[in-house]
């Protein structure tokens, strides 16, 4: 797998020049490889005893092309994000957001949501709220984090194109900002679980900041890349994308997900919410859907609801939010996603 070659110094104590030289070298090799994916994948597809233009041939070609492409893109994205995020920490972000009651606290929170590394939302949520960060600002942060994450944007850019990646970025960011603002205006503090409201802000410990060298940051990037190895489920998304690409007739796709079918936008949200995967799993499916003529609005709505609203995440949030607040949260974010979907189906 690509990640094996991306790690020039797995043992501790490799001299710095290994990092400064090795990472650009490995990066260049991977970049050159990325440019040759079409001939490579066509060659591999030709090895299969099926006609290239048959359903199965199309599906195989999609799969064989997308697997190395997604893995290479993930390698690059995870590395760059790992390094970039090493400058941001939840502690620092919290300090920046504390006391930001002004209107621009919301977009700032959405921006920091994208840049701050976090793997579980609950401790972070509590840390923010107990430090006096307004609930709405906290929500902007939590919505933006998964919704406009770098993995989703990078894969959209690589697999679908920069236009749609940009549209997604702008609308995802807007939804996070506006939904947070609306939730903030609703005065929902009383729907936090009681123990969260009683939490004393002073109780939170503070860590001395760890000083990182550039090599430390590069190591964090490589560390991020290594995690890809565990994400075999990415292949499942590509498999579904390949099946759609090879077997689903365009006429059927237009009927179900075309711009004419107005109900397809809410249906996409209803189907998307219980689906539990993140951006890397869903974007190959999006690629195949758009290729088959699915309407952009419907596809965006599907993608956003899969990534931003997930059932398991809501169950985890139940520890800090009362059911009523979770319901309001889902309703406001869904409204934003529906609006985006309808808007794009109407103008395109």
């Amino acid at each position: 797998m690509t990640t094996e070659t991306h790690d020039p110094a797995p043992h501790r104590g490799a001299p710095d020049w290994v990092w400064y030289g090795g990472i650009p070298a490995v990066g260049s090799v991977l970049y050159l490889l990325y440019g040759q994916l079409i001939p490579i994948s066509e060659w591999v597809t030709a090895l299969f005893p099926v006609a290239r233009d048959s359903h199965t041939g199309e599906a195989i070609a999609f799969f064989v092309y997308d697997v190395p492409k997604v893995l290479l893109l993930l390698t690059g994205i995870d590395f760059v994000t790992g390094v970039l995020r090493s400058w941001f920490s939840p502690e620092r972000t919290r300090a920046m957001l504390a006391g930001k009651r002004q209107i621009w606290g919301y977009p700032l929170a959405a921006l920091l949501g994208v840049l701050t590394p976090f793997c579980s939302s609950v401790p972070l949520f509590i840390g923010f709220v107990s430090a006096g960060i307004p609930l709405g600002v906290t929500f902007s942060f939590l919505i933006a984090g998964p919704m406009v994450g770098p993995v989703g944007l990078g894969l959209l850019y690589g697999l679908v194109g920069w236009e749609i990646a940009t549209i997604y970025l702008v609308f995802g960011f807007t939804i996070a900002t506006v939904a947070g603002f609306i939730l903030g205006r609703m005065g929902l503090e009383r729907h936090l679980q009681d123990w969260v409201r009683e939490l004393n802000a002073g109780a939170l410990g503070d860590l001395p900041g760890e000083r990182l060298t550039l090599v430390d940051r590069l190591k964090i990037g490589v560390d991020q890349v290594r995690e890809i190895v565990g994400k075999v489920w990415v292949l499942v998304g590509i498999g579904i994308g390949a099946a759609i690409h090879g077997y689903v007739p365009e006429a059927v796709m237009l009927r179900i997900m075309g711009g004419e079918a107005w109900w397809s936008v809410p249906a996409a949200v209803v189907v998307g919410v219980p689906m539990y995967t993140n951006a890397a799993g869903v974007i190959p499916i999006v690629e195949a859907l758009l290729g088959k003529g699915a309407a952009l609005g419907t596809t965006l709505a599907f993608m956003m609801s899969v990534i931003a609203l997930s059932l398991p995440e809501m169950i985890i949030l139940k520890q800090v939010l009362k059911l009523r607040l979770i319901a309001i949260f889902i309703a406001v974010v869904s409204a934003g996603i529906l609006a985006t979907g309808f808007l794009f189906n109407a103008i395109l």
Binding site: P117, C119, V196, I220, E227, Q319
Partner: protein
Amino acid sequence: MKTVKVYGPGCKRCEATQTMVQEAAARLGIDVTVEKVTDAQSIAMAGVMSTPGISVDGKLVHAGGLPDAGKLEGWLRA
């Protein structure tokens, strides 16, 4: 005898951190009990915002991401 707590809701990195702590302690010959804290309320009360977090004898030493192996040994020795 040191008490090390690893804070985290059970993500892969939290498990890896726990293993790292145990291995480092074994390497240094330090007697430790490693306790896993997975409940959100307790994690929050300890002041951990990004998981996995580590505390040694009640003192929070690390939060967020895998710890550096060298630093980990330093915390255990202290």
